[in-house]
């Protein structure tokens, strides 16, 4: 594909600016270059407007490396809460810290239950309102749904009943 030469070549005004600078330097070739301030300010303004439009004030949650979240056409806003994640390899992470494999955790859930109880105690110590039971849940889209439901059973038994499934929003 060939570019239209008129688009890339300097116009009369730009040539004038370059020539004026050269004349100022007694004809010597300038080491510097003429910066097109108008274009630069235009570019900055457009960038700022675009970035302001895409700016999001909702809290962000960390997603495990290599995790593919399922897509959703009806996503809600993310709320700040503890993150429980099931990776593609079947490992379970609580706030990015490995708890164990789902198979082991569902057989012996004591460790996870203790950690969940600790979170609950910390929440009760810092809040006057009753425990909300909110939990951000992440799982790879290829993980078996029964593994997810077994982990949810542990969460439900620990009074984490408002589970928010992390998804990638599609508009």
């Amino acid at each position: 594909m060939r570019l239209n030469q008129s688009l890339v070549t300097a116009n009369q005004f730009e040539k004038h600016l370059v020539n004026r600078r050269r004349r100022k330097n007694n004809g010597a070739k300038s080491i510097g270059f003429a910066l097109m301030l108008t274009s630069m300010v235009d570019m900055f303004s457009m960038l700022v407007i675009f970035l302001l439009q895409t700016f999001s004030g909702s809290p962000e949650i960390l997603v495990l490396k290599g995790m593919e979240l399922p897509n959703s056409i009806t996503p809600s806003v993310v709320k700040e809460a503890t993150v429980l994640a099931i990776a593609k390899d079947g490992n379970l992470y609580l706030d990015q810290k490995l708890v164990g494999s789902v198979a082991n955790v569902t057989k012996k859930p004591d460790e996870l239950l203790n950690k969940l109880n600790l979170i609950k105690k910390q929440w009760n110590a810092t809040h006057d309102t009753p425990f909300s039971g909110e939990m951000n849940f992440q799982a790879d889209k290829d993980v078996d749904s029964t593994s997810v439901s077994m982990v949810m059973a542990i969460l439900t038994s620990s009074q984490f009943q408002a589970i928010q499934l992390a998804v990638v929003g599609q508009q």
Partner: protein, 157 residues
């Protein structure tokens, strides 16, 4: 930008814009917004795992919906009133995508556009059905304004 159009005693409406500070401001704004920009929009699908006394009391003339996965492209919709099954629909297709489309149509025609009011919906997963497919089914329910959704857990069975 720099203009002096003072004519006589009239006060000029033009003003001088300090380009250096303007560019500084724009650069700072650009840097900040680029650093804080979110490129992947992560959202949530909320489910409520209420049971026992914590579960909301069912309203009069409302029904509960059970969505039971039989396979990746086969689901069973059970409509229950006070724990008793009233109606049942089977949705089956060759692929998950077409099954979800059929599920949406069935929900619209058989449940939403009728006199039924759905209080709660429960999704029962099955081995062989992955989490992505389950979330897609939850999505179909939410699209049909069924928001009080729970997932039947192993202990709930």
């Amino acid at each position: 930008m720099i203009g002096n159009t003072n004519r006589g005693s009239k006060k000029s409406l033009d003003f001088d814009l300090n380009l250096t500070s303007f560019i500084d401001l724009l650069s700072t704004c650009t840097c900040f917004l680029l650093i804080t920009a979110v490129w992947i929009q992560i959202g949530t699908v909320e489910i409520k795992q209420s049971h026992g006394t914590e579960a909301a009391a069912p309203a009069k003339d409302s029904m509960d919906l059970d969505l039971v996965f039989k396979g990746p492209s086969e689901v069973l919709i059970n409509l229950k009133k006070s724990g008793k099954q009233v109606k049942s629909f089977e949705v089956k297709s060759d692929s998950t995508a077409t099954m979800l489309t059929k599920l949406n149509e069935t929900l619209k025609s058989q449940v939403i556009d009728t006199k039924f009011v759905i209080a709660t919906a429960t999704v029962t997963p099955k081995t062989g059905v992955n989490y992505g497919q389950m979330v897609s089914a939850l999505d179909v329910l939410r699209k049909n304004k069924i928001v009080n959704i729970g997932v039947l857990t192993e202990r709930g069975k």
